[in-house]
Symmetry: none
């Protein structure tokens, strides 16, 4: 009952109370605060708690049943409907189509780049970047012109290697508004998060050093670490973050220098670390003098509970925090920043210099003005709303059309879902099936921190698709799956698996 | 005592042990690991720690005392001398202004960055970038707006990692107009020449590999190579390019993988390679399978004889050609490209991905349109005229005002002159003298490919100064020189040297 305390109903809203209530219960389910098969409060009790008529609760529960989110047992009560569990188990041929750099897909992660073929007119669930009509082009054009009128040629001169000072000022203010104390001298402007990871690797790693990463993870980071001759220790991910027991083991064994993690809406799994897990991690890394790199692209896209970065926590002063604006503003800007302990900054600056000297001045100046005018916050609100809508459409489409043996969980944020084929299924193989239906998925192997060449998992991102495309795409994906199943059955296979 | 752990003495070196030791203590002082007035370890203790005779330490300390870096108190020990060095202690004390990253000078080479102090109102001969009023801001603003109107949000999406295709088309046409056949697939767009060098190092070098560079050279390149764990073989420069005899020797000895050269208006010397030298180089590198990196920033600034890149020659298909537009267009754009053999391109693309994914799309699109409209050629003509004028003003000022013992040669192009103090002179010291007169020079040590900490040479760039400032600056520099000479004469020094 405690979790229902958070429910707020507004009697003056134009939205009927039962719909408000249904929406908020839905959120609790999406955030996994209500677990599968968990019993909901009895109607009278909840109505009394919220100060509404019983019929409001009845209607809310009924709508959620219709939405496939709840079920009721006669004489017992109402329950959260579980996600379809995987059935049976069996093996299938692994067909790894992913080698070489043959193609280039705008918006894919670095290691994805060039590894998937995208026919035109596809439902591209591989791209995690916004559709371009969401970009604030008009605002940005206005800002660029203002900067050019104001600064003239200076906008095109070299900037300070650490970043245009007024921008670092604005970023410092932005961080303070988000609860993170940081002065300008701790901020390094970078040409995108990838460069941040790269210069950290350059300045802090020696060949042979060990780096812990989540597994699966963003493999662009792995590429940067490996390019320094570092060795990767892939850490097992549980549903609330890295397994601490495993971590303790590998730390003892390898004495790693760095740990690279994405604690909120992790790429690709969507996992959010629990507060306990974050604390345990921090403590462990402090004890063993391991620098945590916290990659934060998605915290701003918390659709329900607002997630918070590790960097905000007490004792996180040694954490290097990388913040990218690519996914929410415009990826082609190539602008991000990192916040690092003062003793690390000179090395990072040196590495930045030897990488590209400085980030283009015009872009830094424009983004500074964009922040100062409050346009970033405005745009963030707008994007969050758009993305949240796509998140819901996607969830609904998956609920309606996906075969029950394909499972997934709800992260409540970010731009993707992480799905699982029945045990033994091959997402590489499924990728090929989907391609025939013009659906592009990202097979799990693209995110492997180890040498795994295939996986039961795949990622679907909804950022780059319009709502109607999302629905059609999920339908097509389901057809690809069913078609394969039927083929297998026709061939008299025992296994109903892909 | 702990910081002395880092000291490594090599008994097989041709350099005496006490000199090796002195050099390394000097470095500790320059790096501020030893602070002013800090006490050095007692002679016996340090000798025991390093496993050398006491006399080695005695001699090292004595030499550093003579250099004005240490002082001793009778019965107490030896201490680090604080800056500024007390007058009269020694006439030719080296005052190393080059430690730490304290300052940032727009337009200086990467390794220069932050190493010189520029008071406001100075005559800054250290910066090799144009004064901002020369930037084509109005044209570029117009172009940016056209691109935004034409492409909308696509201008801010990710671009192909290899570069926006139409830009590669334009660059290919530009190259053909300049006599270099190149199709789009051989071109990689980069965020400035520095990034080009960095991704070449990333994709082609392994730790321990040898790279030949000119000495002196652009030390941003050295930083990128060293960051990969490569070892530098500094090649002697004659007035028509690298010494072929020396080259043959070091190639036999080290079997280097790459050679990095700036064959036209070399940084910092302004040297242009003769045609014979270029041919000999190409032949040698072909025979030993060494990839030449040709860095070309200045060929377009040939004021008399039009110089040509090596890449244009027969047999240069294995040369990687880097072309920067920074010095002529606008350095803050961070845009350049490289032309590489087809078998090298995939590796470069991968390195580019792991560095920053792609160069900002808006800038690529704008520069493409700039080329297509013929604005580049128009601007180049304009800049060449402006720079040529400054070149002449500079030459005249030097002829009129410089004391005859400061010598230089005329390169006939580029943006700098390379000057030489009388034999035995210290350009580090002269830097300090000039600073007092608000003249900023680049001492030769900033361009050293070896570990040389001082040099008789210094560079003066005229790109960032207006003609009248050039004249006043050269006058002030001459005063700085004369003043010093008079001081020395007054003290009855034998040496007429700075």
């Amino acid at each position: 009952m405690e979790i229902f305390v958070s429910i707020q109903l507004n009697k003056r809203s134009s939205l009927p109370l039962y719909q408000q209530l249904a929406q908020q219960i839905k959120n609790l389910i999406f955030e996994s605060q209500l677990k599968p098969d968990e019993k909901l409060p009895p109607i009278r009790k909840l109505a009394a708690r919220l100060g509404v008529n019983n019929v409001t609760v009845v209607n809310a529960y009924r709508q959620l049943e219709q939405d496939g989110l709840l079920y009721s047992k006669v004489g017992s009560g109402t329950y959260v409907k579980p996600y379809p569990p995987s059935r049976g188990a069996n093996a299938l041929t692994v067909t790894p189509p992913f080698s070489g750099l043959e193609y280039s897909i705008p918006g894919l992660n670095i290691m994805d780049q060039g590894q998937l073929h995208i026919p035109s007119g596809s439902y591209n669930f591989a791209s995690a970047i916004p559709t371009p009509e969401l970009f604030p082009v008009a605002d940005f054009k206005q800002i660029l012109n203002e900067v050019l009128d104001r600064d003239g040629g200076s906008a095109f001169a070299y900037q300070e290697g650490q970043g245009y000072f007024p921008l670092r000022e604005s970023l410092s203010r932005y961080l303070k508004d988000n609860g993170i104390g940081a002065d300008e001298s701790s901020i390094q402007v970078i040409s995108g998060a990838q460069q941040g990871i790269d210069i950290i690797a350059k300045s802090l790693l020696k060949p042979g050093d060990f780096v812990i990463t989540e597994n699966p993870t963003y493999t662009g980071a792995i590429a940067a670490f490996k390019s320094r001759g570092a060795r990767i220790v892939p850490a097992v991910l549980k549903e609330d973050g890295i397994s601490i027991e495993y971590l303790q083991d590998v730390i003892e064994k390898y004495r790693p220098r760095l740990m690279y993690i994405i604690p909120n809406f992790q790429t690709p799994t969507g996992i959010c670390y629990s507060e306990e897990k974050k604390k345990a991690l921090l403590k462990l890394c402090q004890a063993y003098n391991i620098i945590i790199i916290e990659d934060d692209s998605f915290t701003d896209l918390s659709y329900y509970t607002q997630r918070l970065p590790i960097k905000i926590m007490a004792g996180a002063d040694k954490v290097i925090f990388i913040k990218s604006f690519s996914k929410i503003l415009m990826p082609g800007l190539r602008l991000a920043f990192l916040l690092a302990p003062n003793n690390v900054i000179p090395g990072l600056l040196k590495a930045k210099h030897s990488s590209d000297i400085s980030t283009p001045g015009l872009i830094q100046r424009a983004f500074d003005l964009y922040l100062r005018k409050g346009l970033w916050e405005k745009h963030l609100e707008y994007m969050k709303e758009k993305y949240q809508q796509r998140y819901h459409v996607m969830l609904e489409a998956m609920t309606n059309y996906l075969p029950p043996e394909i499972t997934y969980s709800k992260s409540g944020g970010g731009l993707s879902f992480w799905l699982k084929l029945p045990a033994g299924g091959s997402s590489n193989h499924f990728y090929t099936r989907c391609l025939e239906k013009k659906v592009i998925i990202s097979p799990g192997s693209l995110f492997s921190a180890s040498d795994e060449r295939d996986s039961e998992y795949f990622r679907l991102s909804f950022a780059g698709l319009y709502p109607d495309e999302i629905v059609k795409g999920i339908q097509a994906l389901s057809e690809a799956y069913e078609y394969r199943q039927n083929q297998l059955l026709a061939r008299n296979s025992y296994s109903p698996l892909l």
